[in-house]
Amino acid sequence: MPFEPKEPQKEIKYEETRIYSEAELKNYTDEELKNFKVKHEIPDLEELEKGPWPSFVSDAKQEALHRRKLADDRMLIDRDVVEDMLGQLQVSFDEGETHWKHGGIVGVFGYGGGVIGRYSDLPEKYPSIAHFHTIRVNQPASKFYNSDFLRTVCDLWEYRGSGLMNLHGSTGDMVLLGTTTEQLEPIFFELTHVLGQDIGGSGSNLRTPSCCIGKARCEFACYDTQALCYELTQYYQDELHRPAFPYKFKFKFDGCPNGCVASIARSDMSFIGTWRDDIRIDQDAVKAYIAGDVLPNGGAHRGRDWGKFDIQKEVIGLCPTKCMSMVDGELVIDNKECTRCMHCINVMPKALRPGKDTGISILLGAKAPILEGAQMATLIVPFMKAEPPYDNIKEFIEKVWEFWMEEGKNRERLGELMQRFGLPKFLEIIGLPPAPQMVKTPRENPYIFWKEEDVPGGWTRDIKEYRARHKR
């Protein structure tokens, strides 16, 4: 298998790792759950138990009841922790303001990231959530798990934490919500020793990289998103755990321009799969789509009658570059005009596939609005091969980081720094030639910052010589 990890990975067997017995895990009945009241009045939260969508309140109640019925020595965090969290949430609804304190630096020894300190500002009323820190756990690429791993995390987190978690946080980590300062180191030890698993990033460092499902279950993936995500995560462990950057830095890996992990909108460095040869066409399959034997877009519009598939209207007419046509009953693509938007391939996945000469486009500088307004990533490298050991990619990353770490101000994201310096200067620093692909249009204002060396004779001139030609 070409994707074996470099280090042997130990296998986890829940039967060997477990804390709780089957009887303890199923220590309450549906009837008990139905009649269960948490210790605080939570009328608004109970309103959120209605309706079809999974109710986080109903879920939290399960855990609250479960903790109530566990023996005293079967958890190290106060048994009321879930009930107090719900109680405080109700107060936040009543008062329209959060009750989590700002700040508090906690972490594990030698790391600067991965743990987020959290304290209640109503500790007398809700003592069991007085400390309620978050631990970010670095998720495996594209978030596949087995139950042995997940159950072990659950036991660990029920014993040493609140039993509440997020699957997953926005950046991709598995987020464990709510533990005390005392338990941070023990949890880290258990994670690394028993689970063979590290924590993720937070603060001014490399954030946990994340990727789309890629080649694991998608026919569009133009490079191995998981392998690249894993490799860079491992290679940059130091950057991930020990803050040395001006601010956060995010890598995200999309296998194709459909962008399922949204790298173009929310990563400082966005890797998007692409190809530079021709879209592969199966003309028989094209005919099958036209004949109505295959549903367009993989059947994604099945819920409504949109009429018979019309290749002219739905594919050729919607092509943003109009580079497609039907000639003698065959679909023809003028590939040199194609901008690889994916629409035709998405509509007819059985007939059309990305080319075989694949790689990545690299875009830089996306971020949400804080500080200087939202930015989308800017195309910097149109095409780069993405093959192990990815030395070309690492070299590029380090060139960009060197610039950002040298010049970036406190809390300045890469995209903001690029704006402050200007794209031409940035390109000069990282040593890339300018190209029309990097802009939507050439500049509209003519205020060009010519440099002295651009102009023959330089900028130093003699006023006397000038006056010899022009009277004052």
Binding site: L89, P140, M165, G178, P186, F189, E219, H301, A368
Partner: protein
């Protein structure tokens, strides 16, 4: 190796470096792939959505994998995750995955297993009645609403997240379980302008918003904050140094300049801005991240503010429904919400959705001019006739 039961487990506070393992990174992904995924890695030929929430991927080798996608609340307890594990053990040899949008996906390799799994998932409900694992979230519908922490775990939110998402998802449930829309509609929620959820490129974005400038906690600011950092954090230069009557260092705020971003509070806990009346929800629409047909684009503010009506946010729900229903009726097949709004023109967007256009929707921040119309190409709507009347142009 068993999990430890000792209070401090393997950790010895007197010797923190003893046997310490660091920088392991995540578990390698390969071991968690079910055999059908390992055997067909990179060999997938095409896929089909068989019904809402059910996908089949077909490999060049002829292998098929069926995926059942279920909504998840993102916030989950270990009890819920254990139930996910039970299902994975029963039908999927212990394997399960999560999507970027917090859906849970179970993968099986035969139609028989698929049918049994579907029935099982549909039967599982919380005692109060909501589904534990609703199937859906594929194709031309609404998938899971990604969101942030809100009051559950965050110190800066202007609203709550889990409750708002629950309220909206209940109302959009038919779109989660159906594929009747012109294209996919991605709804996202972030509880303050920090946008940990990066909602700024969603078809519909719900955004918690503060509307009162920070309160200065003069008594402690000099002790708990780096005042120069707080001043530098303000993108509009509204904060400047000041002295308290006692001569202590503090700051003053030009309130009319504040645009309530909360940056100062992020840097300095002595500048809180949460407030029951001030805080609420902004709705943005028309963004996308895909490069499909049109380029990725930012969402635009279409409702400047709605109150935080806990726990079910009826005003937010109503406005989201107005947008989706107008879009569902009017847009073309494959047309994303933002592409629809651009095709018909934003003036028609407001007419068709019935949303009110107010002065708060005209950009007055940096680069605002880029969004002003410098053309006579526009469409007449009631809003246009109203301006003409006020200007004395028509009766």
């Amino acid at each position: 190796m068993a999990l430890s039961l000792d209070r401090l487990g393997l950790y010895d506070p007197k010797d923190p470096l003893k046997d310490r393992l660091t920088d392991l990174g995540p578990r390698h992904f390969w071991q968690y792939f079910p055999p059908v995924i390992q055997n067909n890695y990179g060999k997938w030929a095409y896929h089909e959505v068989l019904e809402p929430g059910i996908l089949v991927h077909v490999s060049e080798t002829g292998d098929k994998v069926y995926t059942v996608r279920c909504g998840g609340a993102r916030f989950m307890t270990v009890q819920h995750v254990r139930e996910i594990c039970d299902i994975a053990d029963k039908y999927c040899a212990g394997s399960v995955r999560f999507t970027t949008r917090n859906n849970i996906e179970f993968l099986v390799d035969s139609v028989e297993k698929l049918e049994a799994l579907k029935k099982d998932l549909e039967s599982r409900k919380f005692v109060s009645g909501s589904y534990k694992f609703p199937i859906g979230g594929t194709g031309a519908g609404v998938t899971n609403i990604v969101h942030t922490q809100g009051y559950v775990h965050c110190h800066t939110p202007a609203t709550d997240a889990s409750s708002m998402v629950k309220a909206v998802a209940d109302e959009l449930f038919e779109y989660f379980q159906g594929m009747t829309l012109p294209a996919k509609v991605r709804v996202s929620m972030a509880c303050c302008l920090n946008m940990c959820g990066a909602v700024h490129c969603s078809d519909i974005a719900l955004l918690g918003y503060h509307r009162k400038p920070p309160i200065v906690d003069h008594e402690v600011i000099d002790r708990v904050c780096e005042i120069p950092l707080a001043i530098a954090a303000c993108p509009v230069g509204a904060i400047s140094p000041d002295k308290t009557p006692e001569g202590g260092k503090t700051v003053k705020i030009k309130q009319e300049r504040c645009m309530f971003c909360g940056n100062c509070y992020t840097m300095c806990q002595a500048l809180p801005l949460s407030d029951k009346e001030g805080d609420g929800v902004t709705i943005l629409a028309g963004g996308k991240i895909s490069n499909r047909i049109s380029q990725p684009k930012f969402s635009k503010v279409v409702v400047p503010w709605l109150p935080n009506t806990f726990p079910r946010f009826p005003e937010v729900v109503e406005n989201v429904k107005k947008i989706i229903e107008a879009y569902a009726v009017d847009a073309n097949k494959y047309e994303r919400l933002g592409d629809w709004a651009e095709r018909i023109g934003w003036e028609k967007f407001f007419e068709k959705t019935g949303l009110e256009f107010t002065d708060h929707l005209i950009d007055d921040y940096r680069l605002a001019y880029d969004t002003w119309r410098t053309s006579t190409q526009f469409k007449f709507t009631d809003a246009a006739w109203n301006v003409s009347k006020v200007a004395g142009g028509i009766e």
